[in-house]
């Protein structure tokens, strides 16, 4: 594990360079609610893993779940007309009167996804950097993951993102600048 990463009970966000405030300000809130960005979403607990490949699948336990070997190969239903199972998530944008829905499987990575969302809602997202999130616009794309936490889009590897993303929300204004406090 990196020496600079400290996984104390307090979220040591400074060490991992994720901020609850704007770059340059010191962190204000220690009492983070469960909906804010946490630093323990890294695969294998490493902070700089976001550019690595997806984590290895969980080791299978021998004999679990308890099914006979001849039952183990019940693959997906034959794809006839439909192209197989898509990953549809709702996309909301602060201030927009209705939601949209997109199939995450259609995109091969973050740039494509963000481009599509920008086109859908007719706005621009800023430029992403690991340090500072999205700079240069009033908007920040966030998503709710399977634990119910709101995360900044782009932090985790793409493969991990599409399997953990439940819905997308384009945050606007002060909330966006504060990177999602108090959602």
């Amino acid at each position: 594990m990196e020496g600079s990463v400290a996984y104390d009970n307090d979220l040591n966000l400074k060490a991992t360079e994720l901020r609850l405030g704007l770059p340059g300000t010191h962190e204000e809130q220690q009492a983070v609610s469960s909906s804010t960005v946490r630093n323990n979403k890294r695969p294998n607990g490493e902070s700089d893993a976001r550019n690595e490949t997806a984590p290895p699948p969980k080791a299978q336990i021998v004999g679990w779940p308890p099914i006979r070997s001849y039952r183990k190969n019940n693959s997906q239903p034959k794809k006839t007309e439909s192209e197989g199972v898509g990953i549809y998530v709702k996309v909301s944008m602060d201030g927009a009167p209705y939601l949209r829905k997109i199939d995450l499987k259609v995109y091969s990575g973050y740039p494509e996804l963000l481009q599509a969302v920008e086109n859908m809602f007719k706005f621009t997202i800023g430029e992403y950097s690991e340090r500072e999130g999205y700079k240069g616009s009033d908007y920040a794309p966030t998503y709710e993951d399977k634990d119910g936490d709101w995360m900044l889009v782009g932090d985790v590897p793409w493969e991990m993102f599409i399997t953990s993303c439940k819905r997308l929300r384009i945050m606007k204004g002060s909330e966006a600048r504060g990177l999602g406090c108090g959602v």
Partner: protein
């Protein structure tokens, strides 16, 4: 005075009376009345069930019961189904066949479960028993279709050949042609487990055509859909039919002959098979659906709406096996269509996936339990559960006799409250007073075992995984469950104390399996030493347990009562704890 009365009946009369007593339990009770009844009974017992082939030796059985015609034997522990018992563990049937070949020339029926059967065994059976009628090999292994050919060629009076779920070396379908053209006695054939792509269709069709008493026919996957009509046409009297592959490019002439063939099967009550289903062909079975009582769709990988469409045609259904593609919505529909449902098994389509691939939750099971009052037997795989759902199930289905729930992720808590599922399972054992079999899963503390010990008085078989907190859990079960016969435990923090404190209980049970628990080698030795009528076997593939300290936990432990003493056919990785508490390696 009583003795006088008993002896005043001639033996033949008593024997005649005893012939009406079929159940093993009753027969055993009869044999305990007095010495003469013991003698008379043993000479006229025709059928034996031996739940653990190592509990008694073939010689002992033959010595006591010289005129047996039907034998049922079980070998490996149940967890062998899930690869927890290493290959070579045991369960060989050859010694039994060899002894019975000489002692029971009139043996008619052999039923085996989880045993190792070789071609040599099958050839010996074919050669030795002139009136052989029934061979059931349930989850067996070690033989090939060559052995089956020997049976087919020699057993003129064979009625039943059932290979269900066995692991057979399928060398192609030619074995079927070993049934002579004069052979017509077949009543039941289940070859659905055979895996080869080859099957001798003409031999099969001829066999089916000339065996006019055929009632059960379960084909294997190699039999194509377009052959079904022909086969069914020759056996319209079938009661139980298993298709082979049930998928092909849709052709209207194939469809109509299929539908026609099914319509003429007026006695058909049970359907299975359905590999590679193409939904468009399912309506061909609609003509028989209204009479179906049993349907096995556990290989059917079609979506819920198509499944529901089919099930709506089956109001008489009593037994359903299905994949979780049915989803909660499908189970809801099932519960309104099939009011006579007694048994439901829902298998996972993607058991190793980390995320749910289908919308099947505890709700599906709850809706069935609420609407089907006759439900007795449940096997359900899902990814979440709640105490309130389990309580609802318990209160609405007090007639449950078998309840097996598998929440796929170990130690999953109640998804609503994040609490353990102790209360939910507690409600199951409290309300379902006739519960005989229970499998637990999810997050469970010692409390659930307290409930089980207190309420589950009729429970005969309990399966536990990733549950409990201390020896108290195991103690509750062993001290409370009066009817317990089989207990299998994996990955639970149960250790020496409960086991040693309840050693006597183990002699009242058939067997106990514990793997990845906390039982020490020293405790195993002690148990083996103190309990001469228990075989205490340690299974450890990493080397002799005595190369480690006595306090080290053993990997796997299998304890069973036996009057035959330690067995002699153990592989190198099984050690028996003998009375001398010296290590015995066979």
């Amino acid at each position: 005075m009583q003795k006088k009365v008993a002896c005043s009946f001639p033996d033949e009369v008593l024997e005649h009376v005893f012939s009406f007593i079929q159940s093993d339990k009753d027969r055993n009770a009869v044999s305990m009345v007095c010495k003469s009844w013991y003698e008379i009974e043993r000479w006229c017992r025709r059928k034996i069930f031996i739940g653990n082939c190592y509990a008694v030796s073939p010689r002992m059985v033959i010595r006591r019961f010289p005129k047996v015609r039907s034998i049922e034997l079980k070998g490996k522990p149940h967890f062998a189904d899930f690869n927890l018992v290493p290959d070579g563990w045991g369960g060989y049937v050859l010694p039994w066949i060899a002894e019975m070949a000489g002692a029971y020339p009139w043996l008619e029926e052999i039923r085996l479960k989880r045993m190792v059967v070789t071609d040599e065994c099958l050839e010996l059976i074919a050669k030795s028993f002139k009136n052989f009628k029934v061979l059931v090999l349930f989850s067996c292994e070690g033989f090939s279709t060559d052995g089956l050919a020997a049976i087919a060629a020699s057993c003129m009076n064979l009625r039943e050949l059932d290979l269900r779920d066995s692991d057979v070396d399928d060398l192609g379908g030619h074995w079927l042609s070993h049934f002579p053209e004069t052979y017509t006695s077949l009543v039941s054939l289940n070859s659905s487990c055979l895996g080869s792509d080859e099957v001798s269709l003409s031999a099969l069709e001829r066999l089916v055509g000339r065996c006019t008493n055929l009632r059960t026919l379960r084909l294997n996957r190699a039999v194509p859909l377009d052959k079904i009509a022909n086969i069914l046409g020759r056996a319209p009297q079938l009661v139980d039919f298993g298709t082979g592959t049930y998928g092909a490019d849709l052709q209207s002439d194939v469809f109509s002959s299929l539908a026609g063939a099914f319509s003429s099967c007026k006695e058909l009550r049970s359907l299975s098979g359905f590999w590679d289903v193409v939904p468009a062909y399912l309506p061909a079975i609609y003509p028989v659906c209204s009479r179906l009582t049993s349907l096995n769709l556990s290989y059917v990988t079609i979506q819920s709406p198509d499944l529901v469409k089919l099930l709506r045609h089956c109001p008489s259904l009593q037994r359903l096996l299905v994949l979780d593609y049915i989803e909660d919505s499908g189970l809801e529909a099932l519960s309104s269509s099939c009011k006579d449902l007694q048994e439901l098994r829902v298998f996972p389509s993607d058991p190793f996936g980390e995320e749910p691939n289908v919308s099947l939750t505890e709700q599906g099971l709850v809706s069935v339990c609420l609407a089907c009052p006759k439900l007795q037997s449940v096997l359900y795989f899902c990814r979440r559960m709640s105490n309130v759902a389990l309580v609802t199930i318990a209160q609405n289905c007090p007639n449950l006799t078998r309840f097996r729930l598998c929440i796929i992720e170990p130690r999953t808590a109640d998804f609503l409250t994040l609490e353990p599922l102790d209360v939910g399972f507690g409600a199951i054992v409290e309300h379902c007073k006739d519960l005989r079999r229970l499998s637990l899963s999810g997050l469970l503390t010692d409390r659930v075992f307290e409930y089980i010990g207190r309420y589950a008085k009729k429970l005969e078989m309990l399966s536990v995984a990733f549950a409990g907190e201390s020896d108290l859990g195991l103690h509750h079960v062993l001290s409370g469950c009066e009817s317990l016969r089989k207990l299998e435990i994996r990955d639970c923090p149960f250790g020496d104390k409960a086991l040693l404190a309840n050693a006597a209980k183990l002699e009242t049970m058939r067997s106990l399996w514990m793997s990845s628990c906390a039982v020490s080698f020293g405790a195993c030795k002690l148990l083996g030493q103190k309990m001469p009528r228990l075989n205490v076997e340690v299974i450890d593939e990493s080397g002799p347990p005595d190369s480690r300290p006595d306090s080290c936990p053993v990997d796997k432990l299998y304890i069973y009562r036996s009057v035959a003493g330690p067995r002699f056919d153990m592989p190198p990785f099984v050690w028996t704890m003998d009375e001398d508490s010296a290590l015995q390696v066979s």
